[in-house]
């Protein structure tokens, strides 16, 4: 039986009208920004399932835009996100889409910029403001963003996993969960930890020549 804190029951403080359609949407948008970066001038949201059907009435569209602008789920400016995006020169577009076999509240967020290749994430709002990120630029992943999370892509060679985990351990950080998937000889690792991930760990892991990509994201306050 999951244990509840008082603020799980009397809370969270959030922007209405619906934790899965607003708070969850804002969180997915924010995670997209944390992962894909701030270097974009256009965003396309592909909305799937119930997101596609009710995004206007629920304000899911505004929440998604707010998230990619960096706002958290309890930011009262959520409802003004379209105007704020416009002021920042960021264009956005919503497209109803069938993303295949996915949770009904799923969105694919594509970041576009002038001189970079498109990048994207796919995430689902799974209830109560909780989210699950399932894909980053074609790499299947699975994490919630509730924990500090390390995303690492690397050439899979013997010893690399233990090298990564020992850097984490040497920095006195406990691993809460770890998942590795592999396609050809390129592996994707998602590590969730119990404490905040700093620059130092990322730099130390990057020293391994197998590393193609590494990103640390820390959870936002709820």
């Amino acid at each position: 039986m999951k244990d509840y804190g008082v603020f799980d029951v009397i809370g969270p403080v959030m922007i209405g009208p619906s934790s899965s359609h607003t708070a969850g949407a804002a969180r997915i948008g924010k995670i997209a920004r944390d992962i894909l970066g701030t270097d974009f001038n256009r965003v396309i949201f592909y909305l799937h399932g119930s997101f596609a059907k009710t995004y206007k009435g629920h304000g899911t569209d505004k929440a998604l835009v707010a998230g990619v602008l960096g706002m958290g789920p309890s930011d009262e400016n959520l409802r003004n996100s379209f105007e704020i995006a416009q002021a920042q020169g960021i264009a956005y577009e919503f497209i109803e889409a069938d993303l295949g076999y996915q949770h009904p509240n799923t969105v694919k967020i594509v970041f576009k910029s002038k001189d970079k290749k498109d990048s994207y994430i796919i995430g689902s709002s799974i209830g109560g403001g909780n989210v699950l990120i399932t894909n980053i630029n074609g790499n299947k992943v699975e994490f919630t963003g509730d924990y500090p999370t390390l995303l690492i892509k690397y050439y899979d060679r013997k010893g690399i996993i233990s090298r990564i985990t020992s850097v984490i351990a040497n920095n006195d950080i406990n691993i809460a969960s770890m998942k590795v998937t592999r396609e050809d000889n390129i592996a994707t690792m998602v590590v969730e930890t119990d404490s905040v991930i700093g620059e130092k760990i990322i730099n130390e892991i990057s020293e391994a020549e197998e590393i193609i990509y590494i990103k640390g994201i820390n959870p936002m306050l709820r």
């Binding site: 804190g5 029951v9 403080v13 209405g16 009208p17 619906s18 009435g57 929440a63 409802r79």
Partner: protein, 289 residues
């Protein structure tokens, strides 16, 4: 630690403490927070609840979809006319509940209690009790901890989600939490709090979740208004000394089983109830295009 009302009541009796005190003790122990920190956070919660309960009383707030809004203000004005049937406390409580629901539907800030859909009930119930019983904010905050303890028991043993258990699980749970909290604030025993919580759940057992167009607006706001009244009268029943024949834990279990028996059409899918009345369907068509 407690998972059931029976255990929480035993702790209250052993330590001769109120429900709120046991909930606070547990929170400090389990989540390793300090008393001061806990109180600060709950003060913040109360502040947001007060704001949302009042925001739509003197100005019309419309929903994002444009479907609903302005009703809290209507009730507030009606209350001033002094010609109401049920009296000022009830009308004002309904107006406050509607206010939070309207703030929620307009993408304003609310506290999910236990969910966003039912977020109008607990604030309105506690603020109504505060006005009637002349309580300080510190006392009202104790009521929020009592409500949290009751809500925790429901969430652990059943569900507080409309998609899982229908509106009885959302607005019913909120009313039960509110009822138990008010009883404690009015000086009732921990047992009486759980009698009140049982009444609130029994009163609306079987209530379906049928939001028009899938939006948290109609009948949601109405059920926040009736939900706070359910909470208030359930508290009065218990304060009068009336006892629930069926213990709270069994009532919660019954509510859960009823939820499981509900077809999916009646659990937030907008495929049953007023959501799929001809008018509900017509509104849905309009909203989706």
């Amino acid at each position: 630690m407690f998972n059931k009302a029976e255990e929480l009541l035993r702790l209250c009796n052993e330590k001769n403490k109120r429900i709120s005190e046991i909930v606070i003790e547990k929170e400090i122990k389990v989540n390793k927070t300090s008393y001061e920190d806990l109180m600060d956070r709950m003060h913040n919660v109360l502040r947001i609840m007060k704001d949302s309960s009042k925001a739509a009383l003197d100005k019309e707030i419309r929903s994002v979809s444009g479907l609903t809004g302005g009703d809290a203000k209507k009730l507030e004005e009606y209350n001033k006319s002094n010609e109401t049937l049920t009296g000022s406390l009830i009308i004002s409580a309904m107006a406050k509940a509607l206010s939070t629901s309207e703030v929620n539907a307009s993408m304003g800030r609310i506290v999910a209690a236990p969910t966003a859909g039912a977020s109008g009930i607990i604030p309105s119930a506690l603020l109504s009790a505060q006005e009637k019983l002349n309580l300080t904010d510190e006392q009202v905050i104790m009521g929020l901890f009592t409500a949290a303890g009751i809500g925790e028991i429901i969430a652990k043993n059943a569900t507080v989600s409309g998609a899982e258990g229908g509106c009885q699980a959302e607005c019913g749970s909120a009313a039960a939490m509110a009822a138990g909290a008010i009883v404690e604030l009015a000086g009732g025993s921990p047992e009486a709090s759980f009698h009140a919580a049982s009444f609130a759940l029994v009163n609306i057992m079987g209530l379906v979740c049928d939001p028009i167009g899938g939006l948290v607006e109609y009948p949601c706001a109405l059920r926040n208004a009736s939900g706070v009244v359910n909470g208030l009268i359930s508290a009065d029943l218990a304060l009068a000394g009336i006892k629930s024949l069926v213990p709270f834990d069994e009532v919660v279990d019954s509510m859960y089983r009823v939820g499981k028996m509900m077809p999916e059409a009646l659990r937030e899918t907008a495929l049953g109830g007023v959501a799929n009345s001809p008018t509900g369907e017509e509104i849905k068509r309009r909203l989706l295009n």
